[in-house]
Amino acid sequence: MISRPLPVATRTFLPIFGVASILVAWQFLLPAAGVPAYIVPTPTAVARVFGKSGSLLLGNFWPTAIEALAGFFIGNLAAVALAVVFVHSRALQAAYFPVVLFFNTIPILALSPIIILIFGLGMTPKIVIAAIICFFPTLVNMIRGLDSASSNEHELFHILSATRWETFWRLRFPRSLPMLFASLRIASATAVIGAIVGEWIGSDKGLGALIIQATFNYQSDRLYAAIVLSSALSIILFTLVAFFERKLVRY
């Protein structure tokens, strides 16, 4: 049997109900079950932190946002550029793709101290870590995307005597956009992870630093608030990516 789609009103209401039911359960059931507030503070306690220490949270939100955004742009741009080089030179791809692949197998957590040793304690190492974490998925997806035009499409461009440049801009690049955006969606979350991981290892600013400090001081309501903000940052980035995807990929 084919299930009918839910009515629109129900479809809007159900997710709100889902979230609300979990928040209510969290608010009342967890304390009732004896989970102490220093492990899981109630949603209202977390909300109160936003009112009480709003400026502290915001002051730590911006550095992370800037690092994640800068890392997102640099990492993805570098990946796209390298993918363009690789699809136009099979020799370079054969020579250097394994190197990139090996580099990708190094856990980012193991790499981060080295990056901080190189770039110091400012924003730069966090941007670098966020960029590296975005880089590989976009590189792989972009190579596949740029190669995804069918042989008939390439033959059509050959018959029309299109130059390499024209074939790139009018065929390969537009063909790659769906795959590029698939990896940008992933990168919108991982860039934030990269920035926060960087801040954990060496920083006194940013949501990552705030998470570490709050954990050591048992300020779990502040810790949760920082987590909520990090996730909000990812959601904002994701929404931006989805917005441009809808504008640019109309098929």
Partner: protein, 263 residues
């Protein structure tokens, strides 16, 4: 050219060997082909899978270099003629670019490559849209079209540069029979008006006889020409016929026999 003909032949092949160069040995797909196609002729190339009929079109379109032998298109090599937009190609899968609208797809030949197509040609888009019954769909994207409509767009795109030779590689092979019949009639009307030389590859005997003035039959293993049958005697001057005409059905039987003898 030989000078015997008043107009150069649209296509002339001599001892043509077509295949793919391998590391050690070449794989021959079509062997010893001699073929002359007069300007303005509608020729169908009929044969089973693997007979090299599509490969032949690819050689004419300069997508593949023959292993040996001569081929000329409008008196020149395929390579020399390619840049001039004198040869149009229609693929079986339409090969439309999904991010371009119908109008933009038809205008692709203006957007790429060095060409001498003028503003007038660009203004012909609306005419082509009307001719192919696509005016209402000009601003749609390919995924919003039916299979038959997509193939009409592909034909319009191939016609934009007013090519003197139109190569069609099983263009209606993936369509349902009703749509295919209708597009066959539209293509014949188009050919009567433009008298473009058409090389039409198909594996349907009925389609070959209905469309062609002449049917070239190829056999597989190895790919070779086994029959070259004139259909004009059973058609009127406009290359018109009825599908049920006994003379047409007799021609179909003749083609089927030629194919069976060869296999």
């Amino acid at each position: 050219m030989s000078g015997v003909h008043s107009t150069p032949l649209a296509i002339e092949a001599r001892k043509l060997e077509i295949g793919y160069r391998g590391e050690h040995t070449d794989v021959t797909v079509l062997t010893g082909l001699d073929l002359e196609v007069e300007t303005g002729q509608f020729v169908c190339i009929l044969g089973p899978s693997g007979c090299g009929k599509s490969t032949l079109l690819r050689v004419v379109a300069d997508l593949l270099v023959p292993l040996s032998g001569q081929i000329s298109v409008l008196g020149e090599t395929p390579h020399a003629i390619r840049g001039r937009r004198d040869v149009g190609f229609v693929f079986q899968d339409a090969a439309l670019l999904p991010w371009r609208t119908v109008r933009e797809n038809i205008r692709l030949p203006l957007a790429v490559g060095r060409h001498s197509l003028t503003r007038e040609v660009a203004d012909k888009t609306d005419e082509l849209l009307a001719m192919m019954g696509l005016s209402a769909f000009a601003d749609r994207h390919p995924h919003q079209l039916s299979g038959g409509q997509r193939q009409r767009v592909a034909i319009a795109r191939a016609l934009l540069g007013e090519p003197r030779v139109l190569l069609m590689d099983e263009p209606f092979g993936a369509l349902d029979e009703i749509t295919r019949d209708r597009l066959n009639d539209e293509l014949l009307n188009l050919w009567r008006r433009t008298r473009t030389t058409i090389l039409f590859v198909t594996h349907s005997i009925a389609e070959a006889v209905y469309l062609g003035e002449r049917v070239v039959v190829l056999a597989a293993n190895p790919g070779r020409l086994v029959a070259d049958i004139d259909i004009r005697p059973v058609k009127d001057h406009g290359n018109r016929c009825l599908r049920e005409d006994p003379a047409i059905i007799a021609k179909m039987a003749e083609l089927r026999q030629a194919l069976e003898r060869a296999s």
